[in-house]
């Protein structure tokens, strides 16, 4: 089948156009982690002590520690935003236009996922640029080596968003996603505090954090920002991506997924 690159470019172009038309979305995506960096991290700097743990070779300020977690936060929110837009598209009927394209559904969903991740990665780089002026300066090469980690982590979190979107019937239910997915994933992870700190307060909480895919997405980004690969995080992130995206393709399959038994499912 010809025209696959054209179809992907069309889907990606729409994502970028929608993003540029919604400037408040860009600002919100940027302000959120910056508030954490400027206020939360500054406040906690004196409270939280950090030992030297890889990939860091010296003691680091709390702001430095929390930056990869905030990159992950941008990707997590972008993934859920993508989920929200899928539910919205379904409610407005725009989803049907995408799904009646002659290209296979896995390709259409994958293209939409990759396009929205690329938009989110731009937001991460804008955040890292501002963070640089705030004194958070990883090695220059880190800005290059972090790119594949950001894309991979974004794809994993975005595919989780897509999977959730397939299970949400109405836009109103999306608030539940915020409460039951985003916040637990973010707080029960290594984004804000190292796991060894977590173990000191609760071994059970430590285990939960260690099992959280978001922890591994953050660690993948943290190591990549310093030019290193964390094999366990890479394996878990890749595995979760395959699992979540496979689940999404199943759920959107006309013969197998939930749509089959739902009247007006894709509207």
């Amino acid at each position: 089948m010809k025209g696959w690159p054209i179809a992907f470019a069309g889907i990606a172009r729409r994502e970028f156009l929608r993003f540029t038309r919604q400037r408040e979305r860009f600002l919100a995506a940027l302000v959120r982690p910056l508030v954490w960096l400027f206020i939360f991290a500054a406040g906690f700097r004196s409270v939280l002590g950090l030992s030297i743990t890889p990939p860091y070779r010296t003691y680091v300020l709390y702001e430095v520690y929390v930056t990869p977690g905030l990159c992950g936060m941008i990707l997590l929110f972008a993934g859920m935003q993508s989920s929200l837009s899928m539910v919205y598209d379904r409610e407005t009927g725009a989803m049907r236009s995408l799904l009646v394209s002659p290209y296979p559904r896995w390709f259409l969903l994958g293209s939409k996922l990759l396009a929205s991740v690329l938009v989110a990665v731009l937001q991460v780089y804008a955040f890292l640029l501002i963070a640089w002026f705030w004194g958070i300066r990883p090695p220059w090469l880190g800005y290059v080596t972090v790119l594949p980690a950001l894309v991979l982590a974004g794809m994993m979190l975005g595919s989780l968003g897509l999977l959730i979107s397939s299970a949400i019937r109405q836009l109103e239910n999306f608030a539940g996603v915020m409460n039951f997915v985003i916040f637990p994933m973010f707080f029960a992870s290594s984004a804000l505090y190292p796991l060894w700190r977590m173990r000191e307060s609760s071994p059970l909480l430590h285990d939960i954090c260690a099992l959280n895919p978001f922890t591994h997405a953050v660690e993948l980004i943290r190591f990549a920002l310093y030019g290193r690969v964390e094999p366990l995080s890479l394996a878990v992130t890749l595995g979760c991506l395959v699992l979540f995206f496979g689940g999404t393709v199943f759920m959107y399959d006309p013969a197998k997924g939930l749509w089959r038994g739902r009247k007006g499912g894709t509207r």
């Binding site: 729409r14 156009l17 049907r96 236009s97 009646v100 002659p102 290209y103 006309p254 013969a255 089959r260």
Partner: protein
């Protein structure tokens, strides 16, 4: 653009054979069979809830039917979904233009979804906009278009990839009388100019011409499949509809 190989041009634009579909305990369609010939206007007539939208969802493969076979221009929708969908142009009941984008951007997006890009897309977009008389609105945001203009724009979008069959699900819903007439006249003109077959789902009798092929769908079953003039030989179409379906009320050319 996705090009075909295989099925011949002689195949009917749409061939539905023994299609049934259930939503859990609800039998939405029961053994539905009919054909839409090349270059014809077929009205799928039925009250709200008759199963028209479900049938459209099966043809467009939003989900698969429980049983039966659907072919578009000779291509099996289940076994060759890409080829079948490449021959379909669809206007859904709910409006599906992206209000944040301009009309041209909307059309470019849909051209890309059919593998049409670059200069070919530009030329075809200009062509279909002229067809639906919206050339002057190309740079307008979709959200600023009137209801009738949005419908015409959606028809333009459905024609971008030169489909064999155009599906329109209650395309005049929510439009005033003038816009309704415009959309209907446009669709009939396209059959002549673009050679495209049309399946027009409606619950409005006034939209059906004597020469049209009518498929009467009620409670998921086909009750009649004939030319409108033949159905209405002895009595007005509305009366025939009432007799066949047992529906008690028809108001102002519409099935209540």
């Amino acid at each position: 653009m996705i090009l075909d190989t295989g099925a011949g041009g002689d195949a009917p634009a749409l061939d539905i054979q023994g299609v049934s579909h259930r939503f859990g305990a609800i039998q939405a369609l029961r053994d539905v069979s009919f054909r839409v010939g090349s270059g014809s206007f077929c009205a799928l007539l039925g009250v709200n809830g008759a199963g028209k939208t479900t049938l459209f969802s099966l043809i467009t493969r939003l989900y698969d039917s429980t049983s039966g076979r659907i072919s578009v221009a000779g291509f099996d929708a289940r076994r060759q979904p890409g080829r079948a969908l490449a021959r379909l142009g669809v206007v859904f009941q709910s409006r599906a233009l992206d209000g944040d984008l301009t009309l041209r951007q909307n059309l470019a997006y849909h051209a890309a979804l059919h593998g049409i890009g670059g200069r070919a897309a530009k030329a075809r977009i200009a062509e279909v906009l002229a067809l639906v008389d919206l050339s002057d609105k190309a740079a307008a945001r979709a959200s600023t278009l009137s209801g009738g203009q949005q419908r015409r724009a959606e028809i333009a979008r459905a024609l971008l990839h030169r489909p064999r069959l155009l599906l329109l699900d209650e395309a005049t819903a929510g439009l005033d009388l003038r816009a309704r007439a415009e959309v209907l006249a446009l669709t009939r003109r396209l059959i002549a100019e673009e050679g495209v077959s049309t399946l027009w789902a409606t619950h409005i009798f006034d939209e059906i011409a004597p020469s049209d092929h009518v498929v009467l769908l009620h409670k998921g079953q086909v009750l009649a499949d004939a030319r409108a003039a033949d159905l209405a030989r002895d009595a007005p179409l509305a009366d025939v509809f009432l007799r066949l379906t047992g529906v008690t009320e028809v108001t102002a050319g519409e099935v209540a």
